[in-house]
Symmetry: D2
Subunit: 333 residues, 4 copies
């Protein structure tokens, strides 16, 4: 893991700002800067020491344009979410990534938590049995600056992504009831959904930005034929493991019984809390490892959210909005 | 409160058993016993020291017959839930209670918890503001003896009752997706529902008897325009109170800031845990106080679940089953 | 267990009040009453249907006199704590109980919790290994009516009793620092103690009645050579079980993995909270079972706090006060 | 805050390794390396672009020698703890720091948590009233690699430092009972202490490295004449605030009611967990800000643990060991 941290040979660029000021950086210390991201992509692609990948951290409405531009110039991308504004744009990025054989990582950062990765491990190894019921929530108080995407676009996609990431089971149909409670809001600030999973399991997804007094309450509970799991983003180093007739087990990151995958995402000994930033960094670490692999001719190994997760998120939003607009009816995926 | 506990003047009967053995009791120590509940109702109604009220604690399928019989003989009833098997029977009991002007208490025992009563108080006094979102759950592991009513009938009605009891807002429409996961089960062992409330609020109700490792996880979270509330049956003496931008408050039974209604339902000082049995007894205490009132010519004051809650529960089950059978579509109440 | 609940053949008396009004009862419904406890003891001892045992629920300063009087008349005693005012009185009661071969139960009610009994079971069966460290606390906010005994006498003895009850290991020496923080208090309202246990283990006991905002926070943590335990009175149905390198286990009353002893003290299924009153009643049930045994010529089986626990408590108070008065020095038991 | 993060003008060196391999770095990317720390200190002190400060991250037994060497060459120091091996060495460093007017930061990292800083703020502003009772704990399972310092030196000093940091009240006397439970251990692996505070308050400090199943359980509870506080390192973003007769308040980092000092130490919005590394970094940020101040001729402002905290820690260890060796008697500070 140590050699991943010291990424001596990769050159990173960043595009931020968005009000006309764009910056390009190598190895965190500004070496070159540009007035536009188009100029930056063009220049860096042609330089002998041009950047290997770019981090897209501009305002949401620019994600697509910036990401597409760097992909077109053959530069790997790590992009903040939401990936695009609509399904068509998402499909364009997928096509570009496939044509150019580039790495595209989407920072669905919650997948970077070690306990989330251990949850996925327990599902994959059959410990939970067949997934029957999933309850996933992302609940917040009214944010002072609300996103323009509505609660489903802002946070609902995190919940959807978490569900499919951990369970490996796809949502097959949704019945969604969206509401805008706060006067003047154009888009939903609350959403309740029934889910049907492709394997016959059932679920509930609720996201809200009108939940008085809540902070950033993303959580998931999974019940399978053999056991259950529970995880709360606000206590991220704990994973509850529930077996019928057995004592509840409190699994904790940093302890020897955790899976290799969870341990690889853990920096500190048990009881030394890690948090949001470390989870975010874990997504970066995995993406950078893959960029290094493809640059050295090896195959990428994945393990982080990609352009396909971005496409999936846009499909999810599209179906959810369609369901709600038709009166909260079932829509197949 | 003390004088309520020592109910010297009321004579209580109980009907239990159900396999052919019925018992009638006065003041807990068996004075008279009967071979059938019909015989008991007839005899007690004609005795000078006959019972004032009967507790119906027979198996679920007999609730209706026993309750009706005692009502017909003019005896007040405290009945376990579910009240009846269908809507028609529920309507019959309502009519009987109204005609005979009798007290009919239904032991929706969870309404008896002091913290639940304080939650209702906070809603009633406007502290929460307009109810916008309600998340209510009743989740259990597979019970060794499953009820014949399905999860909605067994436990879903507790969740529905709790929602309407605390918020004072009625469910206006439901979209319910019921599943029988366990092989061989005739009825649902899991249900996910979207709710629309009569005041424009939205909600989710989920109940399950396939939630591996869960015990008796009834909980409710309420978000209003001003504040939020959270209560968990398994930590019944705690009520979480959430205000935007303010510290979360942990309200605890037995402390001086609790409402009069909550304090009246509390027996012990703060930190001396009360539980399920005390909540159950609180429903009895309120019902018995009303029986005493009507016997002395006063008007009943309520505050406990009645025959109308039983009717409401049957309506709920009926609508939920209809919704699910039609493919999880919206059904108005 | 059912047959224990219906204690048809035992006749119980109660002595309460204390301001000159004493009452004697049989089977909860007052059959006979008396003007003094001396008269009651004398009369009941000579009646053919006289009481089998008496419950001593008078103010603390009368416990000794009332208990002694009934013992002298050959009547079994269930006595609230503190048992006596000083060590000499405690010794007198021990002698009386031994001479008369009577049952004497002391309501150290916290020993009645099922999770406490399971903790003792885990220690007894060697699951915890050799006891090395014990942290026991009893912390409260300033009570509105403070006991006259000081914090050590009021609540410290509960902590001491809990420690020795669960671990089976005796305190061998104490170094105690007592303080009266509240102006005008004659006795301690706070105490911190180092403990040395007879087996070489070490411990801390702290009790306080100046802990702002605390309710009734009795807790114990035990660390042995193999595993650890943690229990909190305010979440009484949960016992934490800690093994090195293993997931923390949350043991819960009412589940099949609990010991027979814990299950026998549990009335309700898992997830249906039991509390303080049920724990209190468990002490009564065990005492009454023993009274029945000795009345039928069998040997008592114990399992509840007795006159020896009362004696031990008085020794504890005596040693603690001596230690503190000498400047918080070590005093051997 | 942003300008603190980008410390463009300060040049940092690091001394690590310790088995003969020492490294010197500028701005994280190795510019120069050395075979010994003596050589590094000498060379860097004479270079025009020599380092401004050094981070001492060598094994514990070398802290003193390395720190002293760089101080002697006029280079500011950020040093891991324990600062020295004994009191004399600590005094030497204090003298050097005072003579040379250098910044010396000691990474008592737990003081860097925002909730700890808010706790200190609440004490300083009188919200808690006069400190009466403090319970501070640092409890761990047997570490696989135990420190050579014993539990008091390894972790007890963190507890001592946290107590004095938050309360601003000094420990005046200690009565300490140290034990080595694990066979073959030279020094204590467990310690229980009674504390007397300079203001008349009382306390308990316990640290242990034999607490089966515990992770890194540092916690503090403070009770004053007006209110109480509780903080647990393993849930670092939460601070419990307890007022008599009022609801318990759960204070959370990132929310607007937190003090300016706590907010300045917080990077992310509420509900986005921060952890151990961010707390550590907060100590660095404050130290670096002071180094910048003194380099620009301004006065240092402090706010982080310094050479005086290191001296205090050595005094604490010395007194504790003396107390225990004399049989756990009281030793004044």
């Amino acid at each position: 893991m140590k050699q991943d941290i010291l990424h001596r040979k990769l050159r990173a660029g960043i595009v931020g700002g968005g009000q006309g000021s764009f910056i390009g950086a190598v190895a965190w210390y500004l070496k070159r800067s540009y007035k536009s991201f188009e100029e930056m992509a063009r220049a860096e692609a042609s330089l002998p020491d041009g950047i290997d990948f770019v981090m897209v951290a501009v305002p949401n409405h620019l994600h697509y344009r910036v990401a597409r531009t760097f992909l077109e110039h053959g530069i790997h991308v790590v992009c903040d979410k939401p990936m695009t504004f609509n399904l068509e744009e998402a499909q364009t990025l997928v096509t570009l990534v496939e044509q150019k054989k580039l790495i595209f990582a989407l920072t669905h950062n919650y997948t970077g938590y070690p306990a989330v990765r251990h949850a996925r491990h327990l599902v994959r190894t059959g410990t939970i049995g067949t997934i029957r019921k999933v309850l996933v929530e992302y609940i917040q108080d009214c944010p002072t600056k609300s996103g323009i995407a509505g609660s489903v676009g802002d946070i609902g996609t995190h919940a959807e992504n978490l569900l499919e990431f951990i369970t490996g089971v796809k949502i097959a149909a949704v019945c969604a009831d969206l509401t805008a409670f706060i006067e003047g809001r154009q888009l939903d600030d609350d959403a309740n959904m029934l889910l049907r999973l492709e394997n016959g399991g059932k679920g509930i997804l609720t996201c809200s930005q009108i939940a008085a007094g809540e902070e950033n309450a993303l959580s998931i509970r999974i019940y399978g034929s053999k056991a259950g799991l529970e995880w709360h983003q606000m206590e991220p180093n704990t994973l509850l493991f529930k077996q019928p007739g057995q004592p509840l087990q409190v699994l904790r990151t940093g302890l020897p019984y955790m899976s290799e995958e969870a341990s690889a995402a853990t920096r500190l000994p048990a009881g030394h809390p890690e948090g949001f930033l470390e989870a975010f960094a874990n997504v970066y670490r995995l993406a950078i490892a893959d960029i290094r692999r493809v640059k050295s001719g090896a195959s990428p190994e994945g393990g982080y959210p990609t352009v396909y997760d971005g496409l999936r998120g846009m499909q999810f939003i599209t179906k959810v909005v369609e369901s709600s607009q038709k009166g909260a009816v079932w829509i197949d995926f």
